[in-house]
Symmetry: C2
Subunit: 411 residues, 2 copies
């Protein structure tokens, strides 16, 4: 029996049989993202703390009973998930916390959290016998899809804004994707990808419309809870662009609670860049409508005009009694440097935005100091070297002589 | 009681008490690299298959009984080692093998195999109360040291050739290292670093003189054997620059045998770039003397004029009855592309050189087809995007219109 009870529109609540609809709500169109409603009574019988204790699969697939796939045939070999959770004690001054937990999801196969979604998306495509896929992305979701699709023999067409960092575009090409660099914003790349998917019948990986992607992302919360010994954190801090990740993170915690794995929820705090903050604005106005402003931030992975999965993001904030915090690009660059120098974890700008958010929460007096706070690093700094160079400072160029070295050391 | 029986010069065989000498042989100077001789009778009592079966530490520290540290106080939190070993079945035509094993060591914290050495090197520095370190490197060893030293609060001075890839230099800076970009070759950077270390009393991380680094690298072979169910592979293929990695890999296999964990050795095959092949030349001439030629290869991590740990490399080949294979830069770029497109693993040029070697071995008729062959990917492609771009091909730039997309799809 399928684990999926139904797909439910997050906007109007209309319910569908999974075989009935591929992407969004037939009434609400693109705003009507569907939520995968699982049969928790059934899952609960299998996915217990005891079951996991005996499970030696240290990847996201250890949570397979809660992932809506019919079988394992589409599961690829790339080792994804079960990334480290570090207890960071070296930043009390910057965070106001004696320690906080850093979940380093840059340690996935293509170096971002998006691999969790791609692993499930590609497996779903294989299940549906769909061997051409597409995605629109600011970079990470695309390079992630490319890597997983490559290992599954699936052809991919990818749409990214022309401004995407070089490393992300190179990843796409090296994995063999057909890449469209769109002369326009991320939002325009999304529109174009959706039109092309319709026209050519490609299976669309976009988390913004494909309900199964979030089912991969939610596994990060299962891991956090398990790595904390099945005690939920007090606060989980997540960078927010389209809202898919924060939506996934919240779904994961809710399910852990639903399945009896944890006994309380964390508060979810979303962080946006101050000039790319549609979710913050909507949250503060208590509306589910988003107002477009041209986004402008160094954190390309969360540079978004209209959040494609904004309703799920707002629900995560409301349901968990959380809130939004904004940070400047300068604060993001500072966070990147501090995190690397004090922990050895080198995140990309969006990847350290949640940590920048914690520093901001500290500044604003929002932390008591004894909470268990988790910060998610969503992507590797190696993906955007140009931004890192802005934070990193300069090297000393020397002739190969001790004299030149002495001049610098004794300066 | 210390696990270290003695340090032994690989050139003249002179033995030392570990407290007596920090780096190389007092007679042979820089050529007299020391080998750490461990008390296997003692280690054997603890490090058994059964002990490991119960060990839930999935990092290189699961092999701590075989790592010459006096205690755990210098061990940093960054999760290093226990990288995936993939059984690749998608490349029979290219390799002549129905399957081969790909050990993806780009999945370490700073995205290279060097993290194994740095983890141990930094722990050793803490043990010795040495809080300023230095290294000369083509890039990976340095960025790796920087990351681990950062998380240990150790200050670092790094010497790299000015031509080191941007990402590697940026990693150094973001981790807070003091960086010297040396106007000269890698060999000149090494000389300068050693002089400066002497002058200022810094603890030198260079694998070429510091005997403890190899003790980290050797853990990759322990992992390979354990991941293969304690059956050694028939052939292990390793890219060779200075010779430290191949030396470490061989030491790991030898120790697994010595400790009774495996019952046969693999043959070790070293791969060099054809215009940076001093080890190949020495091996073929059956000499332990190396002749300098200006190295020239896209694989910067193995671009070496004089191999600093060449004797250990040659001994690995001789003792294991292995051999050397050379590949061209073009073959390396092809290997990078094929590996990414068929497995989802994106290695840097030196990182895929071992796989290029397997394709070459196949071409030369050196493989029978039924051997268990392991290829080590030593670093991530994200570290050298410029090289990857040469292999990757081009993206299509389009206006955000379906018409532009159609033109390309229908071409």
């Amino acid at each position: 029996m399928s684990k999926v009870l139904k797909l439910k529109c997050v906007k109007c609540g209309r319910e569908y049989n999974p075989a009935e609809v591929l992407y969004t709500c037939l009434d609400c169109g693109i705003d009507g993202i569907l939520d995968v409603v699982l049969d928790y009574d059934q899952i609960k019988k299998e996915l217990t703390q005891d079951y996991l204790k005996k499970n030696t699969d240290y990847s996201l697939w250890r949570y397979l009973p809660a992932i809506p796939l019919e079988d394992t045939k589409g599961i690829q070999q790339l080792q994804v998930g079960w990334t480290p959770l570090y207890d960071i004690k070296s930043l009390p001054k910057e965070t106001g916390l004696n320690s906080f937990f850093l979940k380093d999801d840059s340690r996935n196969p293509t170096a971002s959290l998006k691999d969790r979604a791609s692993a499930v998306g590609v497996a779903k495509a294989v299940e549906l016998d769909r061997y051409v896929m597409c995605a629109a992305s600011t970079g990470n979701a695309a390079s992630s899809l490319s890597g997983f699709a490559a290992s599954a023999g699936i052809k991919t067409h990818i749409f990214v804004p022309e401004t995407a960092p070089e490393a992300k575009v190179t990843q796409l090409l090296i994995y063999g994707s057909n890449v469209f660099l769109v002369k326009g914003t991320y939002d325009e790349a999304v529109e174009l990808c959706f039109k092309a998917a319709d026209e050519f019948g490609w299976y669309n990986r976009s988390c913004a419309i494909n309900p199964y992607l979030l089912e991969g992302k939610k596994t990060i919360s299962y891991e956090i809870c398990e790595q904390l010994g099945w005690e939920a954190p007090d606060i989980a801090v997540v960078a927010v662009g389209d809202g898919c990740t924060i939506g996934g993170v919240w779904k994961g915690f809710k399910e852990c609670y639903e399945l009896g794995l944890i006994d309380k929820f964390p508060k979810i705090v979303g962080v946006q860049a101050e000039n790319s903050n549609p979710v913050t604005r909507a949250f503060e106005k208590k509306t589910f409508e988003f107002e477009y402003r041209t986004p402008e931030t160094i954190a390309d992975s969360i540079s978004v005009g209209i959040p494609r999965n904004g309703i799920k993001a707002l629900k995560a904030l409301q349901e968990s009694e959380g809130y939004m915090v904004d940070v400047s690009d300068e604060e993001i660059l500072t966070a990147m440097k501090i995190l690397a120098q004090k922990t050895g974890v080198f995140g990309e700008p969006a990847g350290v935005t949640s940590f920048a958010g914690i520093m901001k929460m500290n500044e604003l007096g929002l932390l008591k100091g004894d909470e268990r706070v988790v910060s998610i690093v969503s992507g590797s700094g190696l993906k955007d070297i140009k931004s890192a160079m802005q934070a990193a400072g300069k090297a000393n160029v020397v002739e190969p002589t001790l004299e030149d070295v002495k001049k610098i050391i004794n300066k």
